[in-house]
């Protein structure tokens, strides 16, 4: 229910959604560093778009920060070496999306330091727009919230669109994850610098940082760095899942409904995750490539929970050998948050640009959900949870009958962004989201190209 009374001041929010337990355990700890593993596996497609093209050969020595694969075309992103070492192979390796994809395998020199020696500081203010966009692409920046859409492409607003507002998404509504929160707290200056760069690149004249109201100390950390002209403001929004979803945050901050199937630029908006902006503000002036990110390690199967700078290419095996609990035998390893993240099918999967968290759950945690399910009892909990205003109950019944066309044509299957609220609340333990994925995949496969 979205009751709005004029005499009450509301924490701004969107309709419906859920309130899962936050499980944000290590809020007071600073971000730490993980030691380099012996081997890094760097997939050439760590972003949406065309895979990068390798610039190095087998046996070649590379330095930390050196570009080792270049962007192919506009919608692509280069890859930099996260550590000093030697190229061992360029071969298909398992990746998080569930298939194998070409990757550069780097054997890390044991003496490799975590100091970055490549890259020249550059004067961002002196660049013109095209140079700025090219420079953002050059450092390999992509959306670190998980979508991994190349940042330069997002910020390079088409000529027919006018962007007036940049939204910095600091909601991090997924339980367990704390990486964005800690970056906001530790790197507020870089965040503001990144926002300024992104505003210039996109043509936005103002920026709003949206932060959930359970992270008010992040607001306090950023406040002293806000410019005096008021071009960058902060807003606390209600703590609710999925507050960090693009449409939900736009609704909460600006009370605008972004119609299904359209991009924020249609409303004159562009949205970036705060983690992306903070790294942009740090790396672009230094001219350094994106080679590592903050990853939240959490869950009962992690011995050293916390947020760590982890180089891209570190395999789950190497991360868990270092931070995992060896007694946790039957486990589920989740890449990303627990609501939308994917279970890893192999420990050889590397941390890539889109990996915001590595969660290790004990199998026993999941048993109550997986063991028994019931028929839909029409309780309507999913309808009251769906932030998109869909009818998951109806969709679930149709998917059981394989009525995929009706799901898509009459019940707006395509508007589902798989946030997981319906499955989370379903008392019958029906895997609704998975049924919708299957239905979408069916429709996609069948569609003639």
């Amino acid at each position: 229910m979205n009751l709005r009374l004029p005499f009450l001041k509301h924490a701004t929010t969107f309709a419906r959604g859920i309130h899962p337990a936050p499980h944000k355990g290590t809020l007071d700890q600073p971000i730490k560093r993980m030691p380099f593993p012996r081997k890094l596996v760097l997939p050439l497609a760590q972003h949406i778009g065309k895979p990068a093209l390798p610039l190095v050969g087998i046996g070649e020595e590379v330095a930390r920060g050196q570009i080792i694969a270049r962007a192919e075309g506009t919608l692509s992103s280069p890859i930099h070496a996260p550590a000093d070492g030697v190229i061992e192979a360029i071969t298909p390796m398992p990746v998080s999306r569930g298939q194998w994809s070409d990757a550069i395998v780097l054997r890390v020199y044991e003496a490799s330091t975590q100091e970055v020696r490549c890259g020249q500081p550059q004067d961002v203010a002196a660049m013109d727009h095209a140079q700025l966009i090219a420079a953002i692409q050059e450092i390999g920046m992509v959306g670190l919230g998980g979508a991994t859409f190349p940042s330069h492409a997002k910020l390079n607003v088409p000529a027919d669109k006018q962007v007036h507002t940049l939204i910095a998404n600091g909601c991090e509504c997924e339980p367990y994850l704390t990486c964005d929160y800690k970056l906001m707290r530790e790197w507020p200056q870089e965040l503001i610098a990144g926002i300024r760069i992104a505003m210039r690149a996109s043509g936005a004249t103002r920026a709003i940082i949206g932060i959930e109201d359970n992270k008010l100390d992040a607001l306090d950390a950023i406040r002293p760095h806000l410019p005096e002209d008021g071009s960058i403001t902060m807003r606390a929004v209600a703590t609710k899942y999925p507050q960090g979803a693009e449409r939900m945050l736009i609704k909460s901050l600006l009370d605008l409904d972004l119609p299904p199937g359209s991009l924020p630029s249609q409303l004159g908006l562009v949205m970036h995750n705060v983690g992306t902006l903070a790294l942009l503000g740090r790396l672009l002036p230094a001219g350094q490539g994106l080679i590592e990110r903050v990853v939240t390690l959490a869950g009962p199967g992690i011995k050293k929970p916390g947020d760590y700078w982890i180089p891209f290419g570190a395999t789950l095996r190497s991360v868990l050998e270092w931070a995992g609990d060896p007694d946790c035998i039957e486990r589920e390893v989740i890449l990303g948050g627990p609501m939308m993240g994917q279970a890893a099918f192999s420990l050889d999967i590397p941390v890539t640009k889109g990996t915001s968290g590595i969660l290790v759950f004990d199998k026993r945690m999941l048993e109550p959900i997986t063991q028994q399910s019931w028929a839909c009892i029409h309780c309507g909990a999913c309808v009251n949870a769906c932030p998109m205003g869909l009818n998951p109950s109806q969709l679930g019944m149709l998917s059981a009958k394989l009525e995929f066309d009706e799901m898509s044509e009459q019940f707006h299957l395509g508007d589902c962004f798989e946030c997981g609220c319906c499955s989370y609340v379903c008392p019958s333990h029906i895997p609704l989201v998975q049924q919708f994925r299957a239905a979408k995949a069916f429709l996609r496969e069948r569609k003639p190209l």
Binding site: F14, I18, P20, R247, D257, P259, P260, E330, R331, E332, I334, P338, M339, M340, G341, Q342, A343, A344, F345, S346, L359, F361, K363, L366, P368, T370, Q372, W374, A375, C376, I377, H378, C379, G380, A381, C382, V383, C386, P387, M388, G389, L390, N391, S393, Q394, F411, H412, D415, E418, G420, S423, Y424, V425, P427, S428, H429, P431, V433, Q434, R437
Partner: protein, 342 residues
């Protein structure tokens, strides 16, 4: 080391079907206790018999269809208790057992069990015995009879497949102040007599086993609403629309139509609105649909009561609402986020 693979989301609220159903049972227990206090042994025997027969019917249906044991989901228990609460306290036990089997078999198992039933099983059972035993279902016994904890109401122990003896002699012998053997609705309909509000709140009026105290029903319903095991919109819509209808008729002709309190506090309206209409499996899921469904039940209840041949209309009104629910859901889909109005 094994890798567990599951589709997202990897978390769950922890709420499951048996939990919801169990809490409904909890909410019904005070109502059972109150009716036992009112009617004594007969109420205990009736509630037990009907509930056990529902459980037996469910188990037999499980065996025959080869499905898993569904007694543990508590839904058959709810059906049994609710059904018992809608029957008159003097109802013969064997007829109660028939009602229980009819409720589970005709109302639920035939359609495939919990979640697949189009009608509220308890009301299907009640409708069955209303048609089968029209006299027994309208034979009312007084509450608070002095010997209620030492002897049964005579008709309770009628031998199976026998017609119960007339209990009017017993009723006269156990006369409690003002009891006439007719429900407030019947007395209004046939005698134009308006029952006092107090009697209908505290349970002194003639009524079915569980519908005598509107106040207690409300409190138990509020528990479920507060714990979010019940959708508050349904009872609000049912009672609200019934109230508006009753008020409208009263304003139109105060002589011909009863005052509002009689419409709201009498008969099964509270029990029906709070515990029957809210049955999840047979009510709509969409926000708009829920309001329309509740309103239909309230309006039809008043129409049956005021213009139909029956004194009581809640049961058929809810069954009517149940029948309309799939259609309501179909035409009143929720508004999709950001979608433009057509």
């Amino acid at each position: 080391m094994s890798m567990e693979l599951r589709a997202s989301p990897h978390l769950h609220s922890g709420r499951d079907v048996p939990t919801i159903m169990r809490h409904v049972v909890y909410a019904l227990l005070p109502i059972c206790a109150f009716s036992i206090w009112q009617y004594g042994l007969s109420a205990i025997a009736l509630i037990t018999t009907v509930t056990l027969s529902c459980l037996a019917a469910e188990r037999i249906a499980n065996r025959m269809s080869g499905t898993v044991n569904t007694l543990s989901d508590w839904s058959a228990t709810i059906t049994g208790i609710l059904l018992a609460l809608t029957l008159p306290p003097a109802f013969p036990l064997w007829m109660g057992a028939v009602a229980g089997f009819a409720a589970v078999w005709l109302g639920k198992s035939l359609f495939g069990g919990l979640g697949h039933n189009p009608f509220n099983p308890a009301l299907v059972g009640r409708a069955f015995v209303q048609a089968a035993f029209p006299t027994a279902i309208t034979t009312w016994a007084p509450a608070f009879s002095p010997q209620r904890f030492t002897e049964f109401i005579p008709s309770t122990l009628t031998l199976p497949f026998c017609v119960p003896n007339d209990i009017s002699a017993w009723v006269t012998a156990n006369m409690v102040d003002g009891f006439t053997g007719a429900t407030p609705l019947a007395r209004w309909k046939f005698e134009q007599f308006v029952y006092p509000v107090e009697d209908m709140i505290t349970g002194a009026a003639a009524a079915s086993t569980g519908e005598t105290s509107a106040l207690l029903l409300l409190v138990c319903g509020l528990y479920l609403i507060a714990r979010r095991f019940m959708d508050w919109r349904i009872p609000v819509a049912v009672v609200g629309s019934a109230m508006i209808m009753a008020w409208g008729f009263q304003m139109y002709d105060p002589e011909a139509f009863p005052p509002m309190h009689l419409a709201l506090l009498s008969g099964g309206l509270m029990l029906g609105a709070l515990f029957m209409a809210t049955d999840m499996a047979t009510s709509p899921v969409t926000p708009m649909g829920i309001w329309v469904y509740g309103a239909i039940i309230g309006v039809v209840t008043i129409l049956i009561r005021y213009f139909g041949g029956l004194t009581e209309g809640v049961m058929y009104a809810i069954l009517f609402g149940n029948a309309a629910a799939p259609l309501i859901d179909k035409y009143l889909q929720p508004k999709v986020f950001g979608a433009r109005k057509k």
